[in-house]
Symmetry: C3
Subunit: 115 residues, 3 copies
């Protein structure tokens, strides 16, 4: 299957709602992702030999495989963490309407967002 | 691996808790899925050249690969959105009790739900 | 790809925040996982011919493929449910910092957690 027929989740975590919104809007404007599902969670993690617990935001971005590299690069550039978490999961199948929505949104060369 | 030994998440989004409950109960009654994990999230998405933000519900259904097509069809039929999102993710491994729970629930021909 | 270069999500559900915290701390101390993202959800499921709905906690643990078996075994041992749900999802790609964080945390033989 070519990259044009593969769709992915990109899972990333952020320290605040403000950062999530700013990164997500940039990604949608640049037609790198089509949709983000965002929810708060508790993160418990090991870092420099200590265990931390804090609130953060986990986001599932939906996009197509050929947008992975540029999406990862833009999140890395905008992200306030020293070590962000940007992970790709493969979507194995989907309804036809989902594919059309992704392709229409990602490939429209005339697309200019109205504010 | 045959479809009978593969288990999947089906991820779908819904506009209200009421819709989630009604679709989930139907899917469980028809032995198409065994379990649903449901939480509210914020969705930001591109649609017809505008960016929208709204509350919705994201659901991870757990089932077996051979139930994918019928589950997708039933969600599509019951779903209020013009373009629903119904995505399949493959579960790569699991504990033995999970497999037994899935198979017992999906294959029991005598199963009649008590109200 | 060897198991040393594959990273995974382990998704598991728990009845209470207390159980999640106790299991997660044990897994991090034993260097079986590096991070857990935890949120409450509603679970609807079929069990012994009845449909149940209850609050529970869903956790995405992040770790490396070679830690899967021991992590699964430890969760099974500590888990209060008769049939826990412990599922492996494959992470298909990631940012380089994520890999370094995982490997540094999982492989440090001198690691002793400060309380």
């Amino acid at each position: 299957m070519s990259k044009k027929n593969q769709y992915i989740f990109i899972y990333a975590t952020f320290p605040s709602k403000k950062t999530v919104l700013s990164v997500t809007e940039k990604l949608i404007e640049k037609k790198l992702v089509v949709c983000a599902n965002i929810r708060e969670h508790d993160a418990i993690y090991s870092w420099n030999k200590r265990v931390y617990e804090e609130k953060e935001y986990g986001v599932f971005f939906k996009t197509r495989e050929d947008k992975w590299k540029k999406t990862k690069a833009l999140i890395l550039k905008k992200h306030p963490y020293e070590t962000p978490v940007i992970l790709k999961l493969r979507i194995r199948d989907y309804n036809p309407g989902f594919k059309k929505w992704m392709d229409d949104s990602l490939d429209d060369k005339q697309l200019k967002f109205k504010k």
